[in-house]
C-alpha cells in the first residue's frame, strides 16, 4: 500500500516537473504560429496552419536583426576571449608553484562571492572611463570577466587530470612553454574547453542587467533587451511577440541539446572532485 502510493507520488512529481518545464515553452511555440485572432479565441488549441509570418514580421522590426547580430558577436568573442585568457591562467595555476599563487587564487575566488548587481554602478563608471560605453567590445570585456570564476574552476580541474608526463616529453623534444600549451595541452583539453565554452556562451547570450546599463539606443544592444524594449511595442501584436521570444530562446536550447553530455559531465566532474 505504502509502496503503491509512493509510486503514484513519484510519477505525479515527475509529470508535474516535465509539464512545468516544457509547458510554457511549447505553448508559446505553438502560439507563435497563430494569428492574433486565434491567440485570443483559441488560447490552448493548435494553430490552424504553421505560418511563419510572425517570424518574418519579427525580423522586419528592424532592430531585432541588429540585436541578433550583436548577440552573435558578443557570444562568439566573449566566449573565445574568455577561453583563451582563462585557459592560460588556469594552466599556470594548475601546474606551477610560484610566489603569490595563494594570494591570486584567493582574489580570483573572491569574484565568486560578489553579486554582479552590487557592481552595476561601478562597472558603468569604469566602462565609461575606458570609452567603451555603448560598444560591443565593452560588453565582451565585461562578460569575459564575469565568466572568470566558472571557467577558471572548470578548466583548472580539467588540467589537473592531464598526466604531467605529456608535457615532460614535449619539453624533452625541445618544445617551448608556449608550444607545449598550444600544441599539446589545448588539443587534449577539448572536453574541458567545451564545458567552459558552453557555460560562457550561455552567459553572454542571456545576460541582461549589464547589457541594459552598458548600452543605449539600438546600436549595441543584445537580444534579451529586445524582449524588454519591445514588450510594449508588441503589445498589440501577440503573434510577433511570441515569435520574438522564440527567436531568443531557440539558440540556447539548440546549443544545449547538441552539447548536453559535455555540459553535464563537465559540471558533474567538477562537483564530485570539489
Amino acid at each position: 500500500m505504502l509502496k503503491k502510493s509512493l509510486g503514484v507520488l513519484k510519477y505525479g512529481f515527475v509529470i508535474l516537473i516535465v509539464l512545468l518545464s516544457l509547458g510554457p515553452f511549447l505553448w508559446v511555440l505553438l502560439a507563435s504560429f497563430k494569428t492574433n485572432a486565434e491567440i485570443l479565441s483559441n488560447s490552448l488549441g493548435w494553430p490552424s496552419s504553421f505560418r511563419f509570418s510572425n517570424y518574418t514580421k519579427a525580423f522586419q522590426i528592424a532592430p531585432i536583426s541588429r540585436f541578433y547580430i550583436n548577440s552573435v558577436i558578443v557570444g562568439i568573442f566573449g566566449t573565445l576571449l574568455n577561453l583563451l585568457l582563462l585557459g592560460m591562467a588556469a594552466y599556470v595555476l594548475a601546474r606551477f608553484q610560484f610566489r603569490g599563487k595563494k594570494l591570486l587564487m584567493g582574489a580570483f575566488s573572491l569574484s565568486l562571492l560578489i553579486p554582479g548587481a552590487a557592481m552595476l554602478q561601478p562597472l558603468y563608471l569604469t566602462v565609461n572611463a575606458l570609452g567603451l560605453y555603448d560598444k560591443l567590445i565593452g560588453l565582451i570585456i565585461v562578460y569575459t570577466g564575469f565568466g572568470l570564476p566558472v571557467s577558471l574552476y572548470i578548466l583548472s580541474s580539467y588540467f589537473l587530470t592531464i598526466p604531467k608526463e605529456m608535457e615532460e616529453s614535449a619539453y624533452l623534444d625541445g618544445a617551448s612553454f608556449i608550444q607545449t600549451f598550444f600544441r599539446i595541452i589545448l588539443p587534449i583539453s577539448k572536453p574541458g574547453f567545451g564545458t567552459a565554452g558552453v557555460m560562457q556562451f550561455l552567459l553572454c547570450w542571456n545576460e541582461f542587467q549589464f547589457a541594459i546599463i552598458l548600452t543605449t539606443g539600438n546600436q549595441s544592444r543584445t537580444l534579451p533587451l529586445a524582449l524588454y524594449y519591445f514588450k510594449s511595442q508588441f503589445a498589440s501584436d501577440y503573434g510577433v511577440m511570441f515569435a520574438a521570444t522564440m527567436v531568443v530562446i531557440i539558440p540556447s536550447i539548440v546549443v544545449y541539446i547538441l552539447l548536453q553530455e559535455q555540459v553535464v559531465s563537465g559540471l558533474a566532474a567538477g562537483a564530485v572532485k570539489g
Partner: protein, 291 residues
C-alpha cells in the same frame, strides 16, 4: 624549470589579472569608497560619513521591502528549490526509462535568458489570452481570471513561481554525486534487506551533505542577482511588492541618479551574501571530511 618559466608564468597570468582588476577590484574600491558619499552623475562625490547607511536602515521603506523580499527569496531558494532539485535527482538516479528526457527538459528553463523566462510567464499568466486563465475558464470559474503579476495579492507569489521549481543545476550536481557512491554500498544494504525507500533515506541523502550544502549556497546566492525576470514581469511592482535589492540598486543608480546611495545598498548586498555563505558553510560543515 621554474626559473626558466617565470617569464611565461607572468605572461600567461597577466591578462586574467588585468581582467580581474578592471571588472572586480576597481568596482569594489569604487563601491566601498563612494558608499560614504553623496554623489550623482556629473558631480564630484561629497563625503557624508555614515549618512547613507543611517538613512538606509532608519528611513527607507523601499529598501526595507527590497531587503525583506530578497531575504525571503534567498530562504525559499535555498530550501524549497534545493529540496525539489534533490528529490528529482533521487528519482532520476533510479534510471527509469524517462530519466534522460526528463533531465534534458528540466534544464531548459535554466539555460534560456531570464528575460525570455519572464516573457514566457508574462504570456502564460496574461488575463486575456494566457494559458493559465484559459485553463481556469475551462473549469467555469472566471473569477480567478486575473492579472496575476499586477495584483497585490498574487504578484509576489507569481514572480516566485517563475524560478522556484527550476532546480535543474541542483539535480545535475546531485545526480553526479549519487553516481559516485560505490555500488557495493547499495548491494550490502540490499542484502541486509533494506527497501529502496530506506536506501534513499538512510544511505543516499546523508552522503550528500557536502554537495547539498554547495547547492544551498549556489541557489541562495543566485537570488542576490535576480533582476531580468522581475524587470520583465512586474518591474518591482505593484508598489514595491516584488522589488528586490538588485532592482533597487538599478533604480537608485540609473533612474534616480543617486550613485552614492545606490553603492551603499551594493555594500549591504555583498555583506548579506557573505553572511549567508558563511552561515551555510558552518551549517553544512562544508570542507570538513565526509563521514
Amino acid at each position: 624549470m621554474v626559473r626558466k618559466n617565470r617569464g611565461y608564468i607572468t605572461l600567461f597570468l597577466l591578462p586574467t589579472v588585468a581582467l580581474f582588476i578592471i571588472v572586480y577590484a576597481v568596482s569594489l574600491v569604487i563601491l566601498f569608497g563612494t558608499s560614504f558619499t553623496e554623489w550623482s552623475a556629473g558631480r564630484s562625490p561629497v563625503f557624508t560619513g555614515l549618512a547613507n547607511y543611517i538613512k538606509l536602515f532608519t528611513d527607507d521603506a523601499d529598501f526595507r521591502q527590497s531587503a525583506l523580499n530578497t531575504g525571503i527569496w534567498v530562504v525559499l531558494q535555498s530550501t524549497v528549490h534545493v529540496a525539489i532539485g534533490t528529490l528529482f535527482a533521487v528519482i532520476l538516479s533510479m534510471k527509469e526509462f524517462y530519466w534522460k528526457f526528463a533531465r534534458t527538459v528540466y534544464m531548459f528553463p535554466n539555460i534560456i535568458s531570464g528575460a525570455a523566462v519572464g516573457m514566457l510567464f508574462l504570456c502564460m499568466l496574461n488575463p486575456e489570452f494566457g494559458a493559465v486563465n484559459s485553463i481556469v475558464r475551462l473549469f467555469g470559474n472566471a473569477d480567478y481570471s486575473q492579472n496575476w503579476f499586477m495584483d497585490y495579492a498574487t504578484a509576489f507569489l507569481s514572480v516566485t513561481m517563475t524560478w522556484l521549481p527550476y532546480a535543474a543545476v541542483v539535480t545535475i550536481l546531485i545526480l553526479a554525486e549519487i553516481a559516485a557512491i560505490p555500488e557495493s554500498l547499495f548491494e550490502s544494504a540490499r542484502i541486509d534487506g533494506a527497501s529502496n525507500f530506506k536506501i534513499n533515506l538512510y544511505i543516499i541523502i546523508p552522503m550528500l551533505r557536502n554537495i547539498i550544502g554547495t547547492c544551498v549556497i549556489l541557489s541562495g546566492t543566485s537570488m542576490l542577482q535576480k533582476m531580468d525576470i522581475i524587470l520583465m514581469t512586474t518591474g518591482g511592482g505593484p508598489g514595491n511588492q516584488t522589488m528586490n535589492l538588485p532592482i533597487y540598486i538599478y533604480k537608485t543608480a540609473l533612474m534616480d541618479n543617486n550613485f552614492g546611495y545606490s553603492n551603499s545598498v551594493g555594500v549591504f548586498l555583498i555583506g548579506f551574501g557573505l553572511i549567508f555563505v558563511l552561515l551555510c558553510r558552518n551549517l553544512f560543515r562544508i570542507g570538513s571530511s565526509q563521514n
